[in-house]
């Protein structure tokens, strides 16, 4: 049977338990704004009753557990949505920056610069004799070349930015994994007694959320409460241990950018296979999105250079050449001209021929056909062979300069022009070419043309008196409407328009997907918050409830105290 002292114990248990409950409520209220905090509850249970003759008699209350209200499943879902959303957001931001570089559609875009260039070619075709129109064609061509150079440089800079951010973000990963490993240690120690380390777990979840922003992590919780964090098959956190990640240059990512890095495990050098989060977005931007666009613009510039030069090289300007040094050099003067690897030439000539027209001071023209033997049968022509063949022409000499360029010179009193180049060798070497360079980064107007605009090859006639001959200028103008790209299905402008449309579609799609992923992430976050978030109203209600419980227990205490005093007075 019960006695007064045991009732005193009951009152005491009520006081202690409610005090604990009040403390937990206070902790909740204090952490209302703490990131990642999950509300906690003190679980009050009645103590095991004492068996008496009257039946089981209660012995008061105790705090069985202080537990977190959270859905651990949602943490994994949230981290998954986070890495997805961050990857898309980073990609979207870079795609928008690519769009900004192109300034399309507007009068400032490359498309308008190309239009203006071809308009200037046509204007010159109408008056090939006019020096000012020649100058304005050179100006329009320079503006176009500058436009290509700018776009190319800006895209390259964007890739550099992405690469630099990858390098910088690595230290963030290491800081997070180090802290997660530390918390693992704390949790294992704290939970060894069978209780949960609520606050440490909250802190660890926050860090894992942040790590998920950076890369696609998979987490597994061990029985002892520690988590293992896996990325692409590598454990970057394993219990109290963490693996340092680092960046390492890899020239095979893009041979033109040997400074590009990949993310590796520092100790083993193994590549970390990241397929989500900010890092994936940065890698995609650098290696896919920007590169794809840059490649297309290079292809466009390259085609413009070569196709325009092929036409240009067929004709001649208002005066013939006294001497001409090719714009491009070769690595090996004895290599076959169509062996790109050996010559280092950006473009490839084909088997064919061209004519060289030697004009004397009276205007008499003697035309000699120079064969460019590249038929693969017997020995083919090298630059040295070509120079020898031209050198054999009467009143002409040809040699190879110290830096392996073709130099053609007419004897005094003679000049020369070219025509009918079916081999494209002149355009390949950059002899009598309009543009120099081989892609968007280095396209420029050939210095020979800049120095003397009369060299713009508007005519086909070798007779310098035929100043109104605009046949070659018309041929150059017609390039605008010629399908020279995508296996002869797209004009230069078509190709560019398609590149812009494809950039627009990718950006639009990525932006939409990023919005969706972000709203998923928000939804999951909201569900987590619905379950685990602190509601002040609720806590204040609990506060009042526990206060009342405490007060009532205290009341029991005074009652028993009174009774005891009554008994003591009897004695």
């Amino acid at each position: 049977m019960g006695n007064l002292f045991s009732t005193l114990d009951i009152a005491l248990s009520g006081l202690q338990s409610h005090q604990t409950a009040l403390q937990v409520t206070g902790h909740n209220i204090a952490n209302v704004d703490t990131d990642g905090y999950s509300r906690q509850r003190a679980e009050l249970v009645s103590k095991e009753p004492q068996n008496t003759g009257y039946g089981p008699l209660g012995r008061g209350v105790t705090v069985a557990d202080i537990f977190q209200i959270r859905d651990r499943f949602l943490d994994g879902v949230y981290q998954n949505e986070t890495q997805n959303s961050m990857e898309l957001t980073v990609s979207r931001d870079f795609l928008r920056r690519i769009e900004d570089i192109f300034q399309e559609p507007s009068e400032m875009g490359l498309s308008s610069l190309m239009d203006n260039f071809f308009a200037a070619v046509q204007a010159l075709a109408s008056y090939p004799e006019e020096q000012p129109l020649r100058a304005s064609l050179v100006a329009a061509a320079s503006v176009l070349a500058d436009g290509f150079n700018d776009v190319s440089r800006n895209l390259d800079q964007l890739r550099t930015d992405a690469n630099r951010e990858i390098i910088m973000r690595v230290s963030e990963v290491n800081s997070l994994t180090e802290q997660i490993a530390g918390l693992n240690q704390n949790i294992v120690r704290a939970e060894a007694g069978g209780k949960t380390a609520n606050d440490f777990r909250d802190q660890r979840t926050v860090l894992l959320d942040r790590l998920a922003e950076l890369m696609d992590i998979r987490t597994m919780e061990m029985n002892n409460g520690a988590v293992t964090v896996m990325v692409g098959g590598e454990a970057i956190v394993d219990g109290a241990y963490w693996s340092e990640v680092a960046t390492q240059v890899n020239p095979t990512i893009d041979p033109e950018r040997p400074d590009f890095v990949e993310v590796v495990i520092a100790s083993t050098g193994r590549v970390l296979n990241i397929s989500g989060g900010r890092f994936r977005g940065l890698l995609d931007a650098r290696d896919v999105y920007i590169k794809e666009v840059a490649d297309k613009i290079d292809e466009l510039a390259r085609t413009l250079i070569f196709e325009f030069n092929k036409i240009h090289a067929q004709g001649n300007g208002l005066v013939g050449f006294d001497s001409l040094t090719s714009d491009n050099s070769v690595l090996d003067v004895n290599a076959d001209l169509d062996d790109g690897a050996a010559t280092g030439l950006e473009f490839t000539p084909t088997n064919g021929s061209f004519a060289i027209n030697v004009v004397d001071s009276l205007g008499n023209v003697i035309t000699t056909v120079i064969t460019v033997d590249l038929d693969g049968v017997g020995p083919d022509d090298s630059l040295a062979d070509l120079a020898a063949n031209i050198d054999a022409v009467a009143n002409m000499s040809a040699s190879i300069s110290g830096d392996n360029r073709l130099v053609i010179t007419a004897n005094p009193g003679y000049s020369f022009t070219f025509s009918n180049d079916t081999s494209s060798v002149l355009a390949v070497l950059g002899s009598n070419s309009f543009f120099s360079g081989s892609d968007a980064s280095d396209i420029a107007v050939n210095p020979v043309i800049v120095d003397d605009e009369r060299m713009i090859a508007t005519g086909l006639s070798s007779d310098p008196r035929d100043t109104g001959d605009n046949r070659n200028a018309l041929a150059m103008a017609a390039l605008q409407d010629t399908a020279v790209l995508n296996e002869g299905t797209s004009t230069l402008n078509d190709y560019y328009g398609q590149a812009m449309a494809s950039l627009g579609v990718t950006t639009q799609r990525t932006s939409d997907l990023s919005d969706i992923a972000e709203s998923f992430r928000r939804n999951i976050d909201r569900r987590r918050e619905e379950i685990s978030g602190v509601n002040i109203d609720e806590e204040v209600a609990n506060l009042t409830k526990y206060q009342r419980g405490f007060q009532a227990s205290a009341r029991v205490f005074t009652v028993i105290d009174d009774l005891l005093e009554t008994l003591l007075n009897i004695v």
Binding site: R96, G109, D115, Y127, T467, N493, R522
Partner: protein, 302 residues
């Protein structure tokens, strides 16, 4: 059971709503300030390609219009030079008929010869007419006077052609070129040399050879005239063709501009209305935020 709501959820929701309202407003404001519906390719990828195409076609069309204008000028100046030549030759023909009559004395014939000589000089000058620093009738040797006169004792004794027989063309639409000039050799020195005919008439007049004047020179004159009139007709036909092309280009230009505007430009009224609605939405979101974030149970228990 309904979802549990915490202050954090309210804050997040209100912030998200306000941010969305801001973003939509910013987009609409951009439309209004640029006046463009498409500001980046992702605004409308297909529209972007069409805008790029149209802009290119417009630039081209402008250039075609300029080409046609230049070609028209050249053709019309060529035609008018030829007409003046014909006027001169008509006078020369009258003089020839006059000189062929037996009633004139040699002194009178000499003075007619003098006038014919002046006409000859005028015709050589006309055949060497320049337009925009280009000789009209020298083929593509546009910087070389096409007709060179051999002068003996102050008088022209022969005229030779220094031009060539090439034509140059202008582009008037993609893939279409129209030849502009006609080499002077065919017009002035085709089957019958106009200059030589005038020289011969002058010399016949001086020699008093009325027989040659009436029997040979007048017939030669007819051939010269035919060739010149053919030349005039040729330029007339070129001008007609260029006129038609020009009309088509100008119609096209107007349409193209309208198309581009339809694709690229923002609808001002629609956008303004939308801007107002979005401003209201933002106000509402801000208002709701201000109200919803304030009260808690603490405000009511003391």
């Amino acid at each position: 059971m309904g979802a549990r709501i915490t202050p954090q959820i309210l804050v997040d929701t209100v912030l998200a709503d306000i941010q969305n309202a801001h973003r939509r407003l910013a987009q609409t404001q951009r439309l209004l300030s640029t006046g463009k519906r498409i500001n980046t390719p992702s605004d409308d990828p297909v529209g972007t390609t069409r805008a790029i195409d149209l802009r290119s076609t417009i630039t081209n069309t402008n250039q075609f219009v300029a080409n046609v204008r230049d070609a028209s000028t050249f053709a019309s100046e060529s035609e008018s030079a030829l007409r003046t030549v014909i006027d001169n030759l008509n006078r020369a023909r009258e003089l020839t008929v006059q000189g062929a009559t037996g009633t004139l004395n040699q002194q009178q014939r000499d003075s007619i010869a003098l006038e014919v000589n002046q006409i000859l000089e005028a015709v050589v000058d006309l055949a060497n007419t320049e337009s925009n620093n280009r000789y009209l009738f020298s083929g593509t040797r546009t910087r070389i006077a096409p007709f060179r006169a051999a002068v003996v004792g102050g008088e022209i004794t022969a005229v030779s052609y220094a031009g060539n027989s090439d034509r140059f063309s202008v582009r008037v639409s993609p893939g279409v070129t129209v030849p502009v000039n006609e080499p002077g050799s065919a017009i002035f020195q085709g089957t019958q040399d106009a200059f030589q005919t005038l020289i011969d008439i002058r010399d016949d007049l001086r020699a008093g050879d009325t027989d040659s004047l009436s029997n040979v020179r007048l017939a030669e004159f007819d051939v010269v005239m035919t060739e010149l009139l053919d030349g005039v007709a040729l330029f007339g036909a070129k001008m007609n063709r260029l006129d038609l092309v020009n009309q088509r280009l100008e119609d096209q230009h107007l349409n193209l501009g309208t198309h581009l505007s339809e694709i690229e430009d923002a609808d001002f009224i629609d956008t303004t209305v939308r801007l107002n609605a979005q401003q209201n939405a933002l106000q509402a979101a801000l208002n709701a935020g201000a109200r919803v974030l304030q009260p808690s149970l603490l405000d009511f228990i003391a």
